[in-house]
């Protein structure tokens, strides 16, 4: 059982780069069948000079940079507010855009294939798609945040199922963000503004929830995204609390991660090329919080580089490693499970 594991910081992937090798406000990532990572860079703001920062970076967990595709824009294949990325079993890349209210489909080489979706509140329409994930049938779950619902589509954009209305009752949503599926096909939704996680069966029937009333020691603050492992433990990017927490199905806290990043390979390369800056960095104390009286977690993450700052997505790889997309720090922090007694 996973409860016999603890999580140990493994390494960091990425560093800040406006183009090429690196990330810029990454918000999500997807693994292909070979373990390659497709990292979705949202970047911003949307002014001309900065539009090329938006892109999908291809690399692996060992930080081998393999390329990139996509750029900022509103034409076919362009990215404006890219929010989520998922890869289908038939090897196509799906990217959600919550400004353009559409899903864009690419082949594995990054060539544009097609797109679907328009803005609106009717079935099949979107009002800010915040997240996408494939279910066990390889259909696409869509978190339709301002319509406060989940929609299920086939890969050609035909609606299969829709559920959810605005509200705080069971099965209702308030600006849902992340969505994921467990190995049993059950669906989990990060119900962002209700500060809770909800679980549904594959048909969208409410099963249960985890919120402050149902968790002994955990209180979510605007959970952004989540993942579920083979033992049904739930990994939540607790965005407003600048952490990731892991709970079991009973809501028992397994661990909480606040970030332990040290420079990635790409960062070390940067320092190799900039030794003066690096020498001064080595002399600096970057892990002490000198500021007293300001306990805001965001401020703390802004001051201390190793901490998570705006974790927006979590993915697990085949080895059970936890990949946390650390959006404001332009990197992915990786943790690995290690046995403990």
């Amino acid at each position: 059982m996973i409860s016999t594991y603890k999580f140990e910081y493994s390494h960091t992937v990425g560093f800040l780069a406006n183009q090429g090798r690196g990330f810029n406000n990454p918000v999500d990532l997807a693994f292909d069948e070979h373990g390659l990572m497709y990292v979705l860079n949202r970047a911003g703001p949307e002014v001309g000079i900065r539009l090329p920062y938006k892109r999908i970076t291809i690399c692996n967990a060992n930080e081998d940079y393999l390329g990139e595709f996509g750029t900022g824009g509103q034409g076919d294949g362009d990215l404006w507010w890219p929010s989520s990325i998922a890869i289908s079993k038939d090897h196509r890349i799906f990217v959600a855009d919550e400004a353009l209210n559409r899903v864009t489909v690419f082949d594995m080489k990054g060539q544009f294939l097609n797109k679907w979706g328009v803005k609106g509140g009717r079935e099949g329409e979107f009002n800010r798609i915040s997240y996408i994930a494939f279910d066990s049938e390889d259909n696409l779950l869509v978190s339709d945040s301002l319509n406060n619902r989940i929609q299920l589509f086939d890969k050609d954009g035909h609606v299969i199922n829709v559920w959810g209305i605005p509200g705080a009752e069971d099965g209702c949503f308030n600006m849902p963000w992340g969505v994921c599926v467990d190995k049993g096909g059950n669906i989990y939704v990060a119900d962002w503004r209700n500060d809770r996680i909800q679980k549904f069966d594959p048909s969208g029937q409410f099963i249960r929830k985890w919120d402050s009333d149902h968790l002994a020691t955990v209180k979510f603050n605007r959970p952004a995204s989540l993942a579920v492992d083979s033992e049904f433990n739930i990994y939540v990017a607790d965005w407003g609390n600048e952490r990731v927490i892991v709970i079991d199905q009973e809501g028992k806290l397994i661990t909480e991660l606040y970030g332990d990043s040290v420079p990635s390979k790409w960062a070390v390369d940067y320092f190799d090329a900039n030794p003066v800056e690096y020498q001064e960095r080595l002399k600096a104390d970057l892990n002490t919080d000198f500021t007293t009286g300001r306990t805001d977690l965001r401020d703390k993450s802004a001051r201390i580089e190793k901490f998570l700052w705006g974790p927006t997505a979590i993915k697990l790889d085949s080895e059970g490693r936890v990949f946390i997309v650390d959006s404001c720090r332009h990197r992915v922090q990786v943790y690995k499970p290690v046995p403990h007694n």
């Binding site: 800040l16 911003g44 703001p45 919550e98 963000w177 965005w239 790409w266 001064e280 802004a302």
Partner: protein, 472 residues
Amino acid sequence: MTVNAENCTKKALIAHLFRRAGFGITFDELAGYLPIDYADIVEQLLYPELQPELDQDVVRRYNIDQNSLMLIESSQANWMYRIINTKRPLEEKIALFWHDLFATAYSKLNHAKAVVNQTDTFRRCGLGNFRTLLLELSRDPAMIFWLDNKDNHRGSPNENYGRELLELFSMGIGNYSEDDVKACARAFSGWTIANSVYMSERASRDSIWPHGRLDWQFVYVPEDHDDSDKTFLGQTGRFNGDDVIDIIVDNPATSWFIASKLYSFFVSDKPDESVIQYLSQEFSKTGGDIRKVMRSLFLSETFASDKTRLARVKSPAELVAGTAKLAGSHSFPDWTTVNLAMDANFMGQEILNPPTVEGWHTGIEWIDTGNLVERINSTALEIGDTQQPGVRSIINKVRTHGGVCTAKDLVDLSLDAMCQFEVSATTKESLLKYADMKGPLYFDKEDQIGCSEQRVGEMLQLIVATREYQLA
């Protein structure tokens, strides 16, 4: 002094108050204030913390770049959105006032969030005691970096912050000596930021690597502080920075200086010594309580008088944000708010990036031939979009008048709906002349509705081009 605005309706007085204490007001908001006594409205404004805070989570979620505020455009857009949507208008206005007075610019810092953090301090302390504000300012990392206090060491003073604290931030030139500047600088030696050498190296290279900016943190280094005797403004002691601030705040020159700055920002571009004297006395009497000084200012006869209403040129931030507020065009986070910030930049006011430590040259200097065209084009574009909710609301107000709307109705109703209650006869005549050219509007004929709505939009565009709309 009490409010006595004989030539002014209550509606006009409230609109005036919100142009000065905030960034304008919509007709619907104004309707909510009408039953409330003017002095009570002032009181509400003076305690912004009693109003709900703006939901920044939803901004950070959708504008992910505004979560880290690494880039200047993101930071400017963030403030612009805040100004437009805040329920605490005076909190933002006083922050803008202090930002102008204690002008700290991104251009040298290469660290937008540091300036944003400074404006947060102005929100938190801007209506409090001036002593506290100066203390916070002296500890503010952006200010320490901006005026080189990180380079102010025991035995090797850097006078930049000490000089500007006296000259531009509190007392004004002519009220202190060069020796006072030297003593002041020595008092602030050892007030620095953590890891100052590394942070300076990063700033000088504009390095955002490897993982974006790191927030600067204030630290006091006692071993780097000059703890010897100093003579400052006639007093002698082993003064530290906070002692110096005590002496500054108690000095009559400070009360006059701050009163005159508040007057020119909130009352009029033309100085009136009697009013400044009155505000200065309030400052001294209350020990530098800015809230109390502001209360006296807003309740003064001069503030409400004919000579004060519409007597200040709107700054670009006031103009752009006020128009967006009227148009209702940025009431939820989107990707276009940055364009408003860019428009203000083009008009000469880069918020978070003032041109020098002296801040912006205000008043009539906001307007030259190029800027005026930009001011009119930007606001006309914003208010002319008849699909925006605020514009829809104005159109609906015009429509409720009846099926047929004469040229005079169109002008009167549009001015009213934009809370532009006081325009000259010349302006009104010009608006009427334009409205008359196309005859009445018909909202009772299905095929005329679209065209009539468009004409309301055109009238609004004309109103933002008037002399009066350029004034606060």
